[in-house]
Amino acid sequence: MRVGVLGIGKTPHKIQHEKSLRDLVVEAGRKALDDAGVGPSDIQALYVGNVGSVGFNFENSTGLMSAHHLGVVPAAAVRVEAACGTGAWALHLGCVAILSGLYDTVMVLGAEKMNDLATVEGTSIIAQAADSKEEYFSGLTFPSGVALTARKYMQVYGLTEEDLAHTSVKNHHYGARNPYAHLRFECTVEEVMRSAKVADPLKLYEVCPMTDAGSALVLCREEILRAQPERPQVYVTATQMATGTWYAATDTLEDAHALLARPAQRAYAMAGIGPDDIDVAEIYNSFAIQEPLGVEALGFAPQGEGWKGAADGSTWIDGKVAVNLSGGLLCKGHPLGATGSTQAVDIVEQLRGIAPEGMQRPDAAIGISACRGGPGAVGAIHIYQRLEGEA
């Protein structure tokens, strides 16, 4: 499959009290339109990823609201929701729409406005993305649910908390260089270890912040991008989605692995490539432990060894595969519905060679994004390739 990436755009990722949800939608959407060189009337369908506007913003029909404010009416528009996999699901639907032949040009947009409420309210809303009715009645939250996975992983593979802390050090090294990131500072293993406890064994620097942001892509049929050779020839070459366990209590480490490994294997087959071909990866890491889980699921390291790349350099910018050169969710933050679309935008920037200084992998030509959510319930994989001069 080849779906052209005609345009990309994103807002800063941070607390933005001066902007509403619709402001974020319009800012990200207009940037993508401008970058694509098209107008709102060229968009035939709009897929808006948004997780929690009902709770965070007391408004619901985000897809329809976005269509109005972006000026794409009367195009088709819908809101997409799949927990933290939401933005990736919007991208999936956009790709499927183009591949179906029904549309020539569509927009995929993710947006979340999380900071109108206090942390305790936000925590409660986020917990609703997992099983808030039954399992989380026990007082679990998203961070504490994932903390249980972290402790299990550490027990089984014999990791110390210091071993895991390298993941945050790497993400913060690059996050400090990303002008769009929420947390822009470097840190050491010692500082990670000293940061406040959030959900034992996870500490503050191993947990993403709540962030306001939007990001968008304009997608098109392959022929449309081919006809504009002056534009960067970046295509989505695989899109694969999966579901996994809804309840963390029955989620084994094998389940947590399979959630991304299954769609990743299908995506590699779809693109006709393998893990060794990947230059850059954006791997979901709202909590540090999820980066090694993703590194392993994508085939970059054996199970139980995915954490080592951040410690030995093999997942840094000049390593075997560069993972989360954007700073990951740990630094960009996790604007729920926008996270998957921002991963896509960040990979496209890498393949276009326009990532900020200190973040650009030289000659990056093939990238992959992996998004998970629920936290074990949704897995999403996309592969992107720069295909200059190919017919």
């Binding site: 009645f137 939250t141 249980l148 309840y247 963390a248 209590a249």
Partner: protein, 139 residues
């Protein structure tokens, strides 16, 4: 974790009693919420089975940032308890300081106030205490 008073009238009994669901096809014991579908074999027929209340703590975390309904209880411990019947249950562990909690500890269920609802209602459910001869009484 937010449930309305009306919803709790539906969910209440399972949260007060301690039981799991046995698959009629493959005999796998699942947590109490699996009343539609056996996650092991896909069987659609399960029946309730009472649990004795004893188990072993196999995993835990300490929650420092609680959801609204648990405000005031932090920091609190939530663990995965491997019940003696062989099913995993998530539940708060009480009566022990977070730094003294250890994987492998024997625990037993006790009915406690779980949290305060935002409609002013009080929710009761199963918490767990350390099950040791010299442990404090479970009430």
């Amino acid at each position: 974790m937010t449930v309305s008073a009306i919803e709790f009238s539906r969910l209440g009994p399972p949260k007060l009693r301690l039981y799991a669901m046995r698959c009629d096809a493959c005999a796998t014991l699942s947590p109490w919420w699996e009343h539609n579908h056996c996650y092991k074999c896909g069987g659609g027929s399960l029946h309730e089975e009472e649990l004795s209340g004893g188990g072993e703590l196999v995993n835990y975390t300490v929650v420092y940032y609680p959801p609204r309904d648990f405000l005031g209880q932090e920091p609190y411990v939530v663990g995965h308890i491997e019940m003696d019947e062989g099913v995993l249950m998530p539940a708060p562990i009480v009566g022990v300081a977070p730094e003294d909690v250890a994987v492998g500890t024997r625990v037993k269920a006790t009915l406690r106030r779980m949290k305060l609802g935002h409609e002013g209602d009080i929710y009761y459910s199963q918490k767990f205490v350390v099950d040791a001869p010299d442990a404090p009484a479970a009430d």
